[in-house]
């Protein structure tokens, strides 16, 4: 029998998983946004690419899962770097306005999404490296090994990122460029090099998120679209460009979406998230922890 307590703990687990993935997406997006101040919408396709590369190595070429995972994550980082180098860098040199980046980013997204569709077809693919059957009890609800792995790897990634940004020289330089590119240049930091670092690191996070989610659900060429949208919504809720804000926004969105189905049928989940987007944009564009002053947004 499903008691209310079981139900709550089950929803709690689901929220935690959704929240981890959204946070990873939002942080990657935020790191890039903080550095370049434009919307990198194609971040979503980096996420899908991460999942498909893991699938290719693990399922088709029969590599072991850990190596496939590492290969995929590094390739995701490189893909982000390539997008920056070939598309955004050209636009930066010509000093394009923000809107131009957004449109170009949509173009990149659609382009790569359909390359994936051409290679792998539109059918849904599966990848299940972990024993499905092993599940554990968590306050009455059941949690599978896969779900534990998703949560643990997400939290480990978040910690590693925190150490990278706060404790390493490169991370601190990244923060400096994001806060004040001119001042950073004055003290001898190469801002183009640091932007490349931001794209690589941000895209690695998207790759991790993409691989993790495909352990639990399926792969489809269109998977990147909802992911980037949740990432952007989480970023805006948390405060555009704020990394702690992205984590809070991600988990907030995960919990709202999952506990929302107490009141509203689950098919309305996306509707709820998009409404949140509009509500935040209209009423509080700087989000909960806005680091970017409101006057820069409106």
């Amino acid at each position: 029998m499903i008691t209310q307590a079981t139900m709550i703990s089950q929803l709690f687990i689901n929220s935690l998983i959704a929240g981890s993935i959204y946070s990873l997406m939002a942080i990657g997006f935020a790191i890039i946004y903080k550095t370049v101040k434009f919307f990198h919408f194609a971040h979503g396709i980096v996420y899908a690419t991460g999942a498909y590369i893991t699938y290719t190595f693990f399922q088709i070429h029969r590599f072991d899962f850990i190596s496939s995972f590492i290969l995929a994550v590094v390739s995701s980082g490189l893909l982000g770097l390539l997008i920056y180098q070939f598309v955004y860098r050209t636009l930066q040199v010509k000093k394009a306005p923000n809107l131009i980046y957004l449109l170009a980013s949509f173009g990149v997204f659609i382009f790569i999404e359909n390359i994936i569709a051409l290679i792998y077809g539109n059918q849904i693919l599966f990848m299940r490296p972990l024993a499905e059957a092993s599940s554990y009890s968590f306050f009455g609800a059941s949690i599978t090994l896969t779900q534990i792995v998703i949560i643990v790897v997400s939290i480990a990634t978040l910690l590693a990122l925190w150490i990278f940004i706060e404790k390493t020289k490169l991370g601190l330089a990244l923060k400096a460029v994001a806060d004040d590119p001119q001042a950073a240049q004055l003290v001898g930091i190469d801002s183009v090099r640091l932007t490349q670092v931001a794209f690589f690191v941000g895209s690695v996070l998207a790759g991790v998120a993409g691989v993790l989610i495909s352990l639990e659900t399926n792969l489809s060429p269109t998977m990147g679209f909802p992911a980037i949208f949740k990432g952007i919504i989480a970023s805006i809720i948390g405060g555009m460009g704020s990394i702690p804000g992205a984590v809070v926004g991600g988990f907030f969105l995960g919990f709202v979406e999952n506990f929302g189905i107490w009141y509203i049928p689950s098919i309305w989940q996306d509707f709820i998230s998009f409404t949140f987007l509009i509500v935040f944009l209209v009423l509080r564009p700087s989000g909960f922890f806005g680091v970017i002053p409101e006057k820069e947004l409106i």
Partner: protein
Amino acid sequence: MEYELHLFIITGIFVILALSLNLVLGYLGQPALGHAAFFAIGAYTSSLLALNAGISPWIGLFIGASFAAISGMIIGHLTFHLKEDYFGLATFGFGLIIYSGINNLTDVTRGPMGLPGIPQFIAFTDLYNSLIFYCILILLFVLITIFLTRRIIYSPFGRVVQSIRDDELAAEALGKDTRQVKIMIFTIGAFFAGIAGSLYAHYITFIDPSSFNVMESILVVLMVILGGMGTIGGPIIGAAVLILFPEMLRFIGIPDAVAAPLRQMIYGFLLVILIIKRPQGLVGKYKLW
């Protein structure tokens, strides 16, 4: 011959849609990325009125377009205080909300199953006559749209619209209420998109949410950019190229399963290349940046 007539009609409908977006994107310079939403509102409003209340498509057309215009006005009021890329994101989000709404309100819209049996403007027994009728009707609406767009653009109001695009601060300094002007032109754009939607529904006689998804909004943006923003000819050429080009793929004999992603891949590529190399499009004079 029927096939060519059909392509002419579909191109005409998208020309109206692209011209309506051009008012906002080309003349006002604001990135409205959810234009398919207004197309959808026009289509669903007049179809539902015709199916459930027996209201004639001729009247439904204007009710649908008015609904689209009212939604445009509300969205404009809510989002025109935002900077342009945030405005783009907000309108894109609005497009998603409308799409998700028609997909999920299954009691009203039948969701993904779509609405079949939408009545046509005039019921012909003969397909050929019906197509000829629609060709004339759509051509008429295209001409009306072009005429009104020109009237707006060359009016004093139209000059203010373009001055906002070129230098919003200067327009404000001259005492123009730029916010009001933006909302106005966005509302007019939504109205024409609603007309296009209603014409589409009453021609095809079947609509489902897939015709109004966010890719459709991006496709219309691409039509305007490809042809050339801020001109009348640009969106017409853009719409014609992007409607007729996929048909050519079909003629070369590429199977549908490959043609669909291939087409979209080319769209994505075109969007990036145009923006980097030729932001004024094929015939445009105005550069977005």
